[in-house]
Amino acid sequence: MDKLFLVLQREFMSRVKKRSFLLTTVLVPLIFPALFGGLIVLMKKEDESAKQQIIHVLDKSGKFNTESTEKYSFVSVNGDLETAKSAFTESEDYGLLYIPNFDIESPQGFTLYAKSNPNFSTINSIENKIESSIRDEKLKVYEVDKEMLDRLKTSIDLKSLNISEGEEKESDAGVSFGIGYITGFLIYIFMFAYGGQVMQGVIEEKSSKIVEVIVSTVKPFQLMMGKILGVASVGLFQVIIWVVLMGTLFTVVTGVLGLEMPQQAQLSEAAEMAQNSPEAEKAMRLFASIPFTKIILTFIFYFIGGYLLYGSLFAAVGSAVDTASEAQQFMFPIMIPLIAGIVGMSSIINNPDGNVSFWLSIIPFTSPIAMMGRIGFGVPAWELALSMVLLILGFIGTVWLAGRIYRVGILMHGTKVNYKVLAKWFMMKN
């Protein structure tokens, strides 16, 4: 155990002392908010600066409603299509919409002439505009009172309650999924980033040829576990720093600049308003109903379990090869289940209790990601227990398997390794 700790300590210190660690640790909490903030500001500016586009309308039917929208202003033109086209070409305007004299029962022949390829949202909004013109026309023809029609529209809000755990809990699919997706994605990223670091570390030890001296003093298994756990503690340490830094940053920024920022005032106004509005009340209620403790505990469990499972596989791959480029062929089978877990998320959002969701969250290779996607929706206790037990068995299994490959692999240089060779190493006695 002492030796394992020594190895762990070295792995931890040698990574934490690196300049790149300091850089990412400090920059990530600064860059990400800055990046997102910048994007939001840019998008807002673009929205504000977006001018109304002028579209010429050559309406042969006389049924088109030329009332301008937020983005487009419609200008009626007369004459035949050819003159309208040439007039449009000479102008600076965005497009020319040609509306033939159509039959409202089977409307067709509408054409938009533009100087560039109009994007999807443009086409969509002009289609909507034409469709609503036709609808108004139909209302007139069928003699339906528009006011009556508006009154037919009803909006209700379905409140969904989860009663599976004894007490009634209000649930919200969006919030549950959001939390699940973010935590699942974090696990996915962490496994790739830090699993890759484990592999790099093993390859480095092998290629610098220090490994033989080390294994004459510690068991290969201790060396492997020391490395895996050392990298894991670097990851946890980094995440903790990020949380603390971002928290401090947020408090400082809002505290120091808060008074000068107009948004701050607006925000508190909004909060006051929210207290009175039923929708905001619902949001507050939902927020309070999210089982944070449960989610955090599950996250930590799957985070560690999944990392151990994949970290040991990455270590085994690292031990089998001499350079990182050789590792590619073995990376593929490791990546597939990870990617399956992330892709499966879309199935989980639609049907958290479905077959796909169930199996993805039970099988240890995908469960760390998939179970995080499901956890917010409420998972039956036995399924959660089964998944956790299987994950524990899973990582014991992969650590054992990886250990057997690792102990042989680290002493092999210049061997051409394929799966058959790996199997041979695995079967090798002692």
Partner: protein, 288 residues
């Protein structure tokens, strides 16, 4: 390894010889507990090999290296701690050794900033930092520059003086000739020769002598002696290889016989070098 039975006397420098692929490194890895034996056992001072022995062994493998990104001091202390040295003691000894080998000013430098020769010194220090009772050196002179090779040679001899036992694996015979007092020859996973250097060499004596002389020997030698080789040098000098055929005769008899016909300038027994024994044994083994 196939039925290899070797006993290494305490305080000796033991040469483990054999061509590449003979099984030397496997043998060494077994002693270092890197791999286990399928059958058979290793005993140190009568005790079966166990984890406690790690702290009394120093190992310099053939494939050797250091963590490139680690600082010299950190690295030595870490490797010392892995050999069960307490941290403080590891620091103290590392510093003392670095001063002794003139690399103390590099204590806080990363290995990647060091020259190859300096890195080799550090590898050597890390091998002997725990004052091991048993030092295992696998091809210690390959890759070392001559200055470092000499330095290591001197340190090895000094460690032996202090009571350490040294196992020295190599396929380079000239270093064996100089350092080892015991030898085992391994080929194709089998031990084919073992004993003290002197005993082995004696057993390969063939009563043959190398003689430098002025004036030809011609046919004046008695039938008890046979000229195996002969070479004419400048200024009437000759070099002859002469074997005593009659087992009852001594070198003095040969010398007397020679003096009566020619002027002897030097007279040396032709003892086979370890290299010659090695080659004859290995080739003989492979052919048979």
């Amino acid at each position: 390894m196939d039925n290899v039975d070797i006993s290494i006397p305490e305080g000796s420098i033991y040469g483990l010889l054999g061509p590449n692929g003979a099984g030397k490194t496997t043998f060494i890895r077994i002693i270092n507990q890197i791999i286990n034996t399928d059958e058979g056992e290793v005993r140190i001072n009568g005790d079966l090999l166990n984890a406690d022995h790690i702290s009394m062994i120093g190992y310099l493998p053939e494939e050797r290296g250091l963590y490139k990104k680690m600082k010299v001091g950190e690295q030595l202390v870490y490797l010392g701690q892995l050999r069960n040295l307490p941290r403080k003691e590891a620091i103290k000894r590392s510093k003392a050794w670095c001063e002794r080998l003139g690399i103390y000013e590099w204590w806080n430098k990363k290995i990647e900033d060091l020259s190859k020769g300096m890195a080799q010194k550090i590898q050597f220090i890390s091998t002997i930092l725990n004052e091991p009772k048993l030092i295992i050196l696998d091809e210690p002179f390959s890759g070392f520059d001559p200055v470092n090779a000499n330095l290591i040679k001197d340190e090895i001899l000094e460690l032996r003086e202090k009571g350490s036992t040294i196992i020295f694996s190599t396929h380079r015979m000239e270093s064996v000739e100089e350092l080892c007092d015991h030898i085992a020859l391994i080929n194709n996973s089998k031990k084919i020769l073992e004993g003290t250097k002197k005993a082995i060499k004696d057993s390969y004596r063939s009563n043959t002598f190398l003689v430098d002389h002025k004036g030809a020997v011609n046919g004046s030698l008695s039938n008890d002696f046979e000229v195996l080789g002969h070479e004419v040098l400048e200024d009437e000098m000759h070099k002859s290889i002469i074997q005593i055929k009659n087992g009852k005769l001594s070198p003095n008899d040969l010398l007397q016989n020679l003096i009566s016909t020619t002027e002897v300038h030097s007279f040396i027994e032709k003892v086979p070098s370890i290299n010659e024994i090695f080659i004859s044994k290995v080739e003989g083994g492979n052919n048979g």
